[in-house]
Symmetry: C2
Subunit: 287 residues, 2 copies
Amino acid sequence: MCELLAMSSLEPATLSISLEAFSERGGLRAPHKDGWGAAFYSGRDVRRLRDTGAASQSSGIRFLSEQKYRSRLVLAHVRQATKGAVSLENTQPFARELGGRMHVFAHNGDLIGIEDATAPDLGRFRPIGDTDSEHAFCLLLARLAALWDAPEPPALELRLEVVRRFAALLRPFGPANFLYSDSEYLFVHGHERTQESCGRIEPPGLFTLCRTCPTKKEGRTPKPIEGLTLGLTEAHQRVTLVASVPLTAERWEPVAAGEVLAIAGGRILSRTGAALPDPSTPQLVES
Amino acid sequence: MCELLAMSSLEPATLSISLEAFSERGGLRAPHKDGWGAAFYSGRDVRRLRDTGAASQSSGIRFLSEQKYRSRLVLAHVRQATKGAVSLENTQPFARELGGRMHVFAHNGDLIGIEDATAPDLGRFRPIGDTDSEHAFCLLLARLAALWDAPEPPALELRLEVVRRFAALLRPFGPANFLYSDSEYLFVHGHERTQESCGRIEPPGLFTLCRTCPTKKEGRTPKPIEGLTLGLTEAHQRVTLVASVPLTAERWEPVAAGEVLAIAGGRILSRTGAALPDPSTPQLVES
């Protein structure tokens, strides 16, 4: 099993402390020693650093901490290889251009048999490596291509509908927790994973933590957000973190099995209900 | 004007010293201060590091030097912005998946008016940024897509034919020196550039340097290759470097205007003649 981490924020923020806490699980406190990767959005493009060694020993993680890349949207992955060789090709997160922006995907779980069952459905996208996770990403892109080949970016509801149906497609193959972004929204699907407490595969597969800084008008020093180094505009900061397991002692909210979230600007914009045979249409919440 | 650097080698090699020499031209000895990027192939995938600051001041360049990534194929670019904002989206080299492998492209020159003239010809590829160089890369990928969508990788001759015609398409728009790789071959097109000696735009736009290490059978210590840190298998090493200007005092060979080279394993496999109205078919040389 692998571990996932994502951050969405209103103002550009760095993720150095959280990434360090997260990376300690890569070979040090947890057995995810077969590589790691992090993708920091910058506009429609993404900086992506990956390594095939353990995150806890990685000079790349130290480099990222020193760089303090400022971004509104970050996705990261620590790998324990269960399928596919330990190679750069198989190291997440994956990234592809579609519609003039980089799309990034990271998956936690095992989707047993998905390649054989869905081989003809990849459209124009070809996996570079040989993991079930990258195959799934190509499936998602093939389903999104019609939306993004149009002259204008598609509405959030249309994107959500594709992501929700894609998530429903994955779940019968095994644990299907994933993070996906098209540079504008972060989409999160929670499912199930091997629980450290009992060793069983069950929900939750992901947790979220939403934090807001008070504005300067409130006349207080902004409260620091544990696990995040915030930037110059921190007074108006709002952040949502997503992780496989709570990274701090704060109150992280579990994502229900089958839930799909759409997040932007540090806020959860949409939250579909848990998986149903015929899920209801997405409901937009506070915007 | 920007500067280009590429390395092809028989055995995996590091490029730390050359990259340092090259990066000194990024804002220190030459006015290319608007970003830099380097792509190190690993199998069909690529590690790519880019920065929007000057290479000579970049902690990323220091990081690369420390990492000593071992690769058989490296492409790098130092940017002086002439078109498009100083942003990550506009920072070369560019990379896209096609046919299950990463394709990487870097261009030096100004292709004035190419976007308007060829806008309908990008196929399914969309620029992420707004440079003439990325537009040109999308044009190339659109022309290569039919070859790479086939079940088997295309023959070198077919790839060369597309690259050669693409180069001929670019030249009327302005200086069109480029590096392109599909993870297997490095393709090089030399054209013309602003010459430091006279300030005129004229050939050559690129130089090559080929070096071979003696084998251990020859009973000598392998001769070091200036500008390259070689790896454990250096006894059988063979390297070809490509650069906008000679980086060392050795005898670099100019690439003629309109020449297209195909390079693999540190050796120039094919070299078409200089540009003609109807160029002859590529001639394969020593293999």
